[in-house]
Symmetry: C2
Subunit: 739 residues, 2 copies
């Protein structure tokens, strides 16, 4: 359990900061030469730098207002909501999970398309016209909207006249995720993949050459021996089928089945398969990982480098807007100006946090900062600082005599003691054993109530001994987790008990069980080593979301194509069905196949949900038994899927996890983070600044990951900048002089 | 095709080198103060440094002679041969592939043990007695020999009196590979694994916690629903079985089978399995790779650092033996001494090669070298330099008029033209198509002869236009490959044709086919990009051999244990057998099991060969269906195997391939290699020094891999050493002063 640090001095009490806060009151007087428009413009630059937006907007006051509206979080969420609805339409369109009439889905799609058009028009108003049509992502969105409309009309017309029609434009839908302005993470990932492709291609060609050679050998070695597979088909007689089988062997899906007929014939033939697996599964797959890792990293690093440069550029522009000259010296920005700017950029920032950032920037208390210190602002704003005022416990204020009495103090000491934690760890473990026992025994059901009471007691005791607002502050993940789980479990158990009087609800019971088991997870957080691993995993969480989007885009496209190719080929029959077709999934081609025998009938492309689940199964193990039901060329679909998802995307995912762990193991904190921490200690601020695991933006993690590898010139400013020696405030980066 | 570079000046003609060679003749005169024993001692130090042997031998002349004998390649090969025989005994011992009487295997084993004892005694004579008993590897070998003898006696006695006996000491045999003095690569690998274990353990515990939690959830969600697996057994009702099934799901072996009953019941249950696979298969397996990679690398780096330090230490000792003072200056080693030393260390070194190494060391032609330059010698000797004298073609000497005639010149130009290569690439591709066709067609059989003639013609033409000794020099891998394949194919085809008159030999035909197909590989070498990838793979080849030994040790131990546990539980019946037991592999417990249905009966532990093949299958996909035939606790065997082989060793293998590729992508050449190349250019030596892919020792690759990461002090000498400015020949490394 990580408890909030407690310090006695609150920021309001600290004398150094009181001055700053008073200062900020008369910002309009010292910064009176700057107009509201100037501040708006500077704020937009800083905000763009902070979130790495690279949009060349018009700088007229009207365009800036429109641009601010464009970047409003509400509109961004709305866009994602419309995309989600558009993608979710696949659930209701033929082949549907929940069939809806065609006019309903069409109307919803039209509304979505209208929303995308509106967003595009809004964007067109923000940026110069000539830039708008030069940007491929705008053209892409425009084309997607247009093609979707055309497809809807053709599909409607064909359906109305009773012809066969395909909604081919559905493949384009996930591309919206990539091409909207907010999809820059995803675009960057795709760009890096595209750039890494040539290198991957060479290894892939070599790998395919190896597979083709082995297939030829297999054909010559086994083809004439008259062996049979367990399904009774001739073994290794058709070259293309051998190539496919051996390709699948690389994915380990058909091991050892594919080897058994040859191995049963002679033990020497095992040598062939062992060599094959060594070369193609182990060596080539590792080489794929190495090449994907290396190239993806290389291009991503290049992208991050450009990003950092663009960020500096924007910050220098903001500086240019707000700068003022004091006599002969370098241009500076006054504290008042800076305060107004920060409040514009981040309206919800606390005074103490702002003061802290200022004192990091203006290390020598000069009341103004130069270009170098100003440029840091975007990165400073991205460091998550939890400002925590250590307030007295409310009970101390309300009932001081009771709360400060010796029994009350004893309780507090007890709760804060390590033994309290260990006791509850033990209770959790005992609980785990009881959960494992049969819950229909009334004794055990009652014991579960006892555990629930114990957990509730724990939370109440903690709330009694710790300050409740600190206990429930935003970054106390495990406290929130505990409380929510315990209270939900309480509610679910009460509902369940109430219902049990009439009947047993399986769904409620399922929820109760899951909640009970989730409660056990807390044990992990109490072990330091485990917490370190989990924190790293949480840190890479946001980036895994980018991979999630990448996977959704690829899966969606494959699901749409797969549904058109394979829908209805395989049918699933409920367990209690007596249909004779059930034995072969409703397709006579699957009679006596392993696919039908293993009861895989629900692995089909009959609707978008089962398609997604099937694609996930294919990602794990490329079993593609049901290519039997279509033309042999359909196998290309599965091979392509394997190449795109397993060889490229999963490898990038692994590479990313590797890199993130290496960064955790080697890099400690960024320069800015440590200077921020130093400052907090120096100022003895009454706040514990927690650098939460995770950055506000994914780019923050990326920038830190490649920090060590970036060109010195990109970070020259940070490295040259010595807070104790402000004389070397030069700008070696030529980029900045051009402004 | 990489053709030998051709330069006109041969080393004999180069004036600078002529001097050197003449100098080396009177080495005994200038270095007359050193005795033969000194040179022997220095040579032993250098040789130890070159091969990273860390043996504290006695420095008496007699001990040195014994030590030289101990390191003789013949004795080393003999030791490996005896270990191989000892390991191979498993083929003949019960359960045997080829049964031999117990007294035969016992006698062979006794001979092997005697050989190991002799080697150990030899070693004891070489090093000081107190050191001998402090070294755990000596004690280990001693214990293995002793325990093997005890086991043989007990086993013999028990067998003779008709009791059941187990040859438990066979598990110890592969440990010999680790503990012999030559097994230092393997020991280093095991040491790095052992050091990385604690970190791996924490992740493994977290992973197991996750598996246990999910299993508990699965028990609660599915246990009471009365679902059945396709084998008709109750689905997810026993907690331990769920844990095992879900563990196997991580290896993807039972995907999607394990999910199907729940998925068929309700589509929502797929969410459970998807979450499980995401967390445990993708995230945890990546984290395992990251942790294994990072820790293994860290400890290996530490080992290499120690190695480099020890190497310097030994070279400084050698320097100390041979040094002489010239007046007031630093101690130096004269060229004559150095020459004698190098000839002792590497008797087969060519004069030109030695001269080259000297000129790299003595960059300023002073006739003697200091400590820093001397220390380089071990690394210089490890760089493979191919000395190639460009000699005229023998035909030019024998038949100059014919060979220099214009038609002959035209042929040479033609063969050396790119078009010749492309023509043969095309021929190979056409050949590939013909191989794919049915070889029983007499036309195609005859075409194959035509291709063979074309390939022979190619080799003859190349021998005509290129110098034959250069064509067949040691590093011309593809020329050798081509020639051997073509000639073997020719012989095999002739034998086959001769035999065909009586009968068709399938074995010969198989060889012919494989040779034909192997010939096609040559196409790859002609494509530059492919060659780069293949060269990297060849470079890491020797290290992969270390992994091979690691795998053999682990496999052998698991095979021995597995044979004791599972031998005879499953029987394999030949295809034409009519035994009714065939349907269930001779074990009624397997009736109607998927294992028997898939005809997996040959996947058993009935002898050492099938055990190894089965273990390989388990490495690829952990299918362990036949745990059904024994007690459920036998599953521990398979889980343990998976943890050791897949989670640890395979991940280390992948990490090594990754690292080697990154080194290829980023590092170009070591400092020494480039200074050697520079020297060759400077001296305009008439030899093309090829830095062959691959180092003479695995340590060379390791050292280069971690060169960038090593502490500066370890390489301070190399980096400070500026050949153009010999004034800074200082030794910042305190290690050297202690000598």
């Amino acid at each position: 359990m990580s408890e909030p640090d407690k310090k006695e001095i609150t920021p309001e009490e600290a004398p150094e900061n009181g001055k700053g806060i008073r200062n900020s009151g008369n910002a309009s007087e010292t910064g009176n030469r700057k107009t509201k428009g100037d501040f708006d413009l500077a704020a937009v630059y800083v905000s763009d730098a902070q979130y790495n937006r690279n949009i060349f907007f018009d700088t007229t006051p009207q365009a800036i207002r429109l641009y601010l509206l464009y970047n409003h979080w509400g509109l961004q969420i709305l866009v994602y909501a419309f995309i989600l609805v558009d993608l979710a339409l696949a659930i209701f369109e033929d082949p549907a999970v929940v069939p809806l009439p065609i006019w309903v889905t069409s109307v919803i799609e039209l509304v979505c398309l209208a929303a995308f058009t509106a967003r595009l028009v809004h964007y067109a108003k923000v940026i110069p016209r000539e830039r708008f049509w030069k940007d491929p992502k705008n053209i892409c969105i425009f084309a997607i909207i247009l093609l979707s409309l055309v497809d809807m009309i053709i599909y409607g017309a064909l359906k109305a006249s009773g012809f066969y029609a395909v909604r081919w434009s559905r493949v384009l839908r996930p591309l919206l995720l990539v091409n909207i302005t907010e999809g820059r993470q995803l675009r960057r990932a795709f760009r890096s993949i595209r750039n890494a492709l040539p290198q991957i291609l060479y290894v892939f060609l070599l790998f395919m050459f190896s597979v083709l050679m082995f297939s030829l050998m297999a054909l010559k070695l086994f083809g004439k021996r008259g062996l049979k597979t367990i399904e009774g088909r001739p073994y290794f007689t058709n070259y293309l089928e051998i190539v496919f089988d051996l390709y699948v062997l690389v994915t380990t899906a058909n091991s050892p089945d594919i080897m058994m007929p040859a191995y049963n014939f002679s033990v020497y033939f095992a040598v062939f398969f062992i060599t094959y697996i060594l070369i193609n599964t182990y060596i080539f797959m590792s080489v794929f990982l190495a090449v994907v890792y290396n190239n993806y990293k290389k291009y991503l690093k290049e992208e991050v480098r450009k990003l950092v440069r663009a960020k500096r550029h924007k910050m220098v522009r903001a500086f240019g807007v707000l700068q003022e000259r004091k006599g002969e010296g370098e241009p500076v920005v006054s504290q008042a100006c800076w305060n107004q700017l920060v409040r514009l950029v981040q309206p919800d920032i606390s005074n103490a946090h702002r003061e802290l950032l200022w004192s990091v920037s203006d290390d020598n208390n000069k009341g103004c900062i130069g270009k170098v210190a100003f440029v840091q602002l975007a990165d400073l704003l991205n460091i998550q600082v939890i400002m925590m005022k250590s307030r007295p416990h409310p009970l101390k204020t309300w009932l001081p005599s009771l709360y400060l009495s010796s029994p009350s103090r004893l309780v507090c000491r007890m709760v804060q003691h390590k033994a309290f934690m260990y006791t509850y760890d033990l209770i959790i473990l005992v609980n785990a054993v009881f959960i494992g026992l049969d819950e229909e025994d009334p004794l055990i059901a009652n014991v579960e109530w006892a555990f629930l009471v114990l957990y509730l007691l724990e939370i109440l005791l903690k709330l009694y001994s710790f300050e409740p607002r600190a206990f429930f502050s935003r970054h106390q993940f495990w406290n929130w987790f505990d409380t929510i789980i315990v209270i939900t479990a309480l509610i679910a158990m009460i509902i369940n008990s109430a219902l049990k009087l009439c009947y047993t609800s399986r769904q409620i019971l399922d929820i109760v069980f899951i909640l009970r088991i989730l409660r056990l997870i807390r044990v992990v957080d109490n072990i330091k080593r485990f917490r370190a691993i989990i924190n790293t995993l949480i840190k890479i969480g946001p980036t895994i979301l980018t991979f999630g989007q990448l996977i959704v885009v690829v899966y969606y496209i494959f699901a749409m194509v797969g549904m058109e190719l394979f829908k209805g080929k395989i049918r699933f029959f409920e367990a209690n069905s007596t249909d004779p077709d059930k034995a072969f999934c409703g397709n006579p081609l699957l009679k006596n196949s392993v696919f039908a025998k293993h009861n895989y009938c629900k692995n089909n492309f009959n609707n978008v949900v089962s398609s997604f689940i099937l694609l996930l199964e294919l990602t794990v193990v490329n079993q593609c038994g049901f290519t039997a039901v279509t033309h042999i060329s359909a196998r290309m679909f599965f091979v392509l899927f394997h190449i795109v998802v397993v060889i490229i995307i999963i490898n990038i995912f692994i590479a990313f996890v590797l890199e993130a762990f290496f960064v955790e193991y080697t890099v400690d904190q960024s320069n800015l983070q440590s200077s921020l921490e130093k400052k907090i200690e120096e100022l003895e601020l009454g706040l514990s600044a927690c650098f939460l695991p995770g950055y506000k933006t994914v780019d923050g993690l990326l920038q830190r990951m490649f920090e060590a590898d970036l060109d010195p010139e990109d970070f020259a400013d940070d490295e040259d900048f010595d807070p104790n020696n402000p004389s070397n405030l030069n700008f070696p980066n030529p980029n900045f002089d051009s402004v």
